[in-house]
């Protein structure tokens, strides 16, 4: 086990180093930050001076190592738009995005798992067909369009909910549903597939022969064994949600990380983009690592691969 953990940890470190290298190259090589920081009338000499003070005249490798050093202490430089350290601007927004993604995840699980279970138990019934339809439509509706539809109906037509911004729960409802719907469809399909497989197992037949009530068979015997892939999927779904959150945040003017990245790309505020992308990649690598380790801990076969 310790060998597996070590290998997997090493892999994650390599991945993170690669991600930071790519972020660094894309931002430093393709875009010259001095163009953004100086007024257009600045002379070439001014630019050269700034380049030297920022250390942009040194070899790329040295620059990358310095970037890594700064990264280790969370220093991504100042955001010229906010005139604050980029990382603190990013961290201020993380909370909003986490509230949105976790609510969406909750909605996905609360809708997806029960419908998935019912579809598997009553296979090929009208429940199953309705569930399938729900899943297909869910996976075909881009979250941003679903959001636009909801605004048109619930905010503009009925006037029940605010079109965007933050505040009380009423601001959270539509963005969370728009975002969660897409994942609910996936959760439902996976729950159904995994439940159907488990329901075929010998020990379920045994439980039926023993005469256990159906409720106990389904929830205690089957669902517990079927939920492992669903849990993994849900954990990995966080990433999909984080990506989808960008467009949903833009639709509902939700002041989260995705909205911040979008605005920063538009305003060429690259210190923010760099900080946010690195933060997301780090948390992602951490989630992937945790899921893998958890899996290896639960299922010994994986460790000996």
């Amino acid at each position: 086990m310790s060998k597996y953990v070590l290998m997997r940890l090493l892999q994650s470190i390599v991945t993170i180093l690669l991600v930071t290298a790519i972020v660094f190259v894309v931002i430093r090589v393709i875009g010259d930050p001095t163009h953004l920081m100086l007024p257009p009338e600045a002379t070439a000499a001014d630019r050269e001076l700034l380049r030297r003070t920022m250390g942009l005249d040194e070899p790329l490798v040295i620059q990358y190592l310095r970037f890594l050093g700064d990264l280790a202490v969370g220093d991504f430089g100042l955001s010229y738009r906010f005139n604050q350290p980029a990382m603190s601007v990013v961290l201020e927004r993380v909370g909003h995005t986490l509230v949105l993604t976790f609510t969406a995840l909750g909605i996905a699980v609360l809708i997806g798992v029960p419908i998935g279970v019912m579809s598997a138990v009553y296979r090929d019934s009208w429940i199953d067909l309705t569930g399938k339809l729900f899943a297909i439509v869910g996976q075909s509706a881009p979250p941003f369009f679903f959001g636009v539809l909801m605004i048109a109906f619930f905010s503009v037509h009925l006037g029940w909910l605010p079109t965007g911004g933050t505040g009380g729960v009423q601001y959270l409802i539509m963005p969370a549903i728009a975002l969660g719907w897409y994942s609910a469809a996936g959760t439902m399909r996976l729950t159904r597939a995994s439940m159907s497989e488990v329901l075929e197992a010998e020990y379920i037949k045994m439980a039926k022969i023993k005469g256990l009530p159906q409720r106990v068979i389904i929830y205690k015997h089957a669902l517990r064994n079927a939920c492992l892939p669903v849990i993994t999927f849900t954990a990995l779904q966080l990433g999909v949600l984080l990506g989808g959150a960008v467009s949903v945040e833009a639709v509902f003017a939700w002041p989260g990380l995705g909205f911040l990245i979008l605005k920063s790309i538009e305003d060429l505020d690259y210190t923010i983009v760099q900080a946010a992308v690195t933060l997301i990649a780090l948390s992602f690598a951490a989630i992937n690592l945790l899921v893998d380790l958890l899996y290896a801990w639960i299922d010994p076969r994986i460790r000996y691969d």
């Binding site: 690669l18 009553y122 075909s140 369009f145 636009v148 989808g244 979008l262 992308v277």
Partner: protein, 306 residues
């Protein structure tokens, strides 16, 4: 099987379970009707896709308007026989713009899926064939792609290299090749140990020949299924980028930009956003339905890997 071996006290409960099961049986549709429902769904999906594709390929047969032609005498018209999808604030015909938008979306998605599929498959086979360092390098690169949500990776790259149709295809490929590489690698790994591959090597076939002639043909059906299922994902990704203003640039229409254009008019002219959005949804719906169908028919084992 009889109840002889079961303790008597459990019999009533078994009956209860049987009753529950027969209640379930009542709700099950007859097999013929089930198959009918399935094939009806697939036929509808195929018809919808055919309609959208032919409109995208031969727009002149479906609309007499120009996508960017303004008509200031007919702004914000609701859907009518003259303008089936209505007009926007500049009097442009929404149906016409949706058709040209679908054309660009489909073109970009098809190119991106093709390139990502080709690159991902090649790298997946290379990784599986050579193992060792080659495998490690390719798979770490795949990890990099997986460590960022596709939308954020694509936004980041578009922000750096600028938005154009070619750049969009490049970015969508970079944000999407690793899925192919992972699945194809695992398929190729198991093919690698099969007798016909080992025999081909014994007979002196070069690595290239083994990979192209012996491994590649055997992963074709998985590749087709992966690619079909991927089209819907890429169409959503492209529409998201365009919606966010990082994809196709106005005045050129794309389904994503059309939806974004109409956001300010939801109260007065809902059709500007909603109708192109429904076209987008039908396109994705048709692709996903056909992809699922192909997967069930060609490669059922892929379901769990995807």
């Amino acid at each position: 099987m009889t109840n002889a071996g079961i303790p008597a006290k459990s019999r009533p409960a078994t009956d209860a379970a049987n009753a529950a099961r027969s209640a379930a049986v009542l709700m099950v549709l007859p097999k013929r009707r089930r198959q009918w429902a399935q094939s009806a769904l697939v036929s509808v999906a195929a018809a919808v896709l055919a309609l959208i594709l032919s409109a995208a390929m031969f727009p002149w047969a479906f609309t007499t308007y120009e996508p960017n032609a303004m008509d200031l005498m007919a702004t914000l018209q609701p859907p009518s026989f003259e303008h089936l999808f209505g007009t926007d604030a500049l009097g442009r015909d929404i149906l016409c713009r949706s058709i040209y938008g679908a054309q660009i979306s489909i073109f970009v998605a098809a190119c991106a899926v093709f390139v990502a599929g080709a690159v991902g498959t090649a790298l997946g086979i290379l990784a599986a064939y050579f193992r060792g360092p080659t495998d490690a390098i390719i798979m770490r690169l795949a990890d990099v792609q997986f460590s960022l949500p596709a939308v954020i990776l694509a936004m980041f790259l578009v922000g750096a290299i600028g938005a154009s149709i070619l750049n969009l295809i490049i970015v969508l490929t970079l944000a999407n090749w690793a899925r192919f590489a992972r699945v194809i690698r695992s398929e190729a790994l198991s093919l690698r140990t099969r007798d016909f591959v080992l025999l081909a090597e014994l007979a002196g076939a070069s690595p290239l020949r083994v990979m192209v002639r012996h491994i590649a043909p055997n992963i074709l059906s998985s590749l087709i299924v992966l690619a079909t299922l991927d089209v819907g994902v890429i169409v959503i990704l492209e529409a998201t980028l365009s919606f966010l203003g990082l994809g196709i640039r106005p005045p050129d229409p794309s389904l994503g930009t059309l939806i974004a254009d109409g956001r300010g008019y939801l109260a007065t002219a809902w059709w500007i956003s909603v109708l192109p959005g429904l076209v987008l949804m039908s396109l994705i719906l048709a692709c996903n339905t056909l992809g699922d169908y192909l997967r069930d028919r060609l490669s059922p084992t892929l379901a769990m890997k995807w």
